[in-house]
Symmetry: C2
Subunit: 224 residues, 2 copies
């Protein structure tokens, strides 16, 4: 059996591979353990052939490691969606529960909830759910911070890192699939003003960073 700690290391390494080299320190920070602990674990994971580890140089998952990462992420996102769709959790409550359960459900459980949810492709925060064989549903999204005045976009994904932020976002109506129009944007990472369901809102960098959007095709637009 593969341990919870192992799964958490592998998962975080997988998630960090986007932003350049995955270093000892970055893993330590993400998992809230010391770098010494990370070095120790990386050696063991390399021993298990779940990743390739070059001292001082960083780390890269093997095929086997990536498979485990995708499996855990699939569990996590399916559970999040299940909690929210079937059990009535709010989107700020699902992450912590999923973070534990992802390591302890059976394949049968995974399959059952996958079917109950109608073969879903995205979790409650818009994150793609890897398929059983590791394919990741694609959708074209970009950071809200990249938008320009005049853009008309739909919220397609939010970061699930901070429950407080999620509560704030739903409070001000910034939930998935909501369409917003960018009214203005100040330079130097300054605040945006947007129109959300008829209300004008200011969204500053700290908040905007959490939101990803896709353009609304002009023929779908409903002028606000």
């Amino acid at each position: 059996m593969i341990s919870q700690a192992t799964e958490d290391y592998i998962k975080i390494i997988y998630k960090m591979k986007g932003n350049g080299t995955v270093t000892t320190n970055s893993i330590a920070k993400a998992l809230n353990v010391t770098s010494a602990s990370v070095t120790n674990m990386l050696k063991r994971l390399a021993e298990m052939r779940l990743l390739k580890y070059t001292s001082y140089k960083g780390v890269k998952l093997t095929k086997a490691g990536e498979k485990i990462a995708l499996e855990v992420i699939r569990h996590h996102r399916l559970i999040e969606l299940y909690l929210s769709e079937i059990m009535g959790y709010t989107w700020d409550e699902v992450h912590d529960e999923a973070e534990r359960l992802e390591h302890h459900i059976s394949e049968q459980f995974e399959e059952k909830i996958f079917n109950m949810l109608g073969s879903p492709e995205f979790d409650p925060h818009g994150a793609p759910i890897p398929s059983k064989n590791g394919d990741i549903p694609k959708n074209e999204i970009s950071p809200l911070t990249d938008c320009a005045p005049g853009d008309y976009v739909r919220i397609e994904r939010v970061s699930d890192a901070d429950p407080e932020m999620l509560r704030y976002l739903s409070e001000i109506g910034l939930v998935l699939m909501v369409e917003i129009k960018i009214l203005s944007k100040e330079p130097f990472n300054g605040p945006l003003t947007v129109n959300v369901g008829g209300t004008e809102r200011m969204i500053w960098d700290e908040v905007a960073k959490n939101i990803y959007v896709a353009p609304v095709l002009s023929n779908d637009k409903v002028e606000a």
Copy 2:
């Protein structure tokens, strides 16, 4: 946080307290570990004030220990019922899944499934679900092996220990709430013959041991 191992020890000790003194060996057998491991753990549990441990003499849970036991058992049985009622598991599939999940769900999760299930009192095998404050729903049941010819009884509980046995029982129609009439019983733990839904069945000791029944009041009887 209290570890999974701790919870499993406490739970098994609680369950064994019915049959006389709980000994090192009996715990070892039940948990499939060596007696040396048990001695070691008992010392730690005593240190944590979860039980009173007298060398060579056996063990008894404290109030704190009992509270943990009841909490874990409540989780286990609620999860079993949830899996069977809401997710379509069969009664032979629920135990293993519950055995892991019981240690990892939150109080919120517990509450949600409790409500979804309509404040249930018994699990899919007829075992009572301890209430939030530790009360255990009572029902008057006795072993099927204690029945005498002529008795008319209802199946109120089955042992969930062996999935194979559970599959066999449902195969021959011996599921919860089914009413059966005892036709004959051989001495020396010999087989019983019973009438189940019009069919005559032989139930020998190994099988009968798993079944607990309550008498059906004569005015409720439906002659078979």
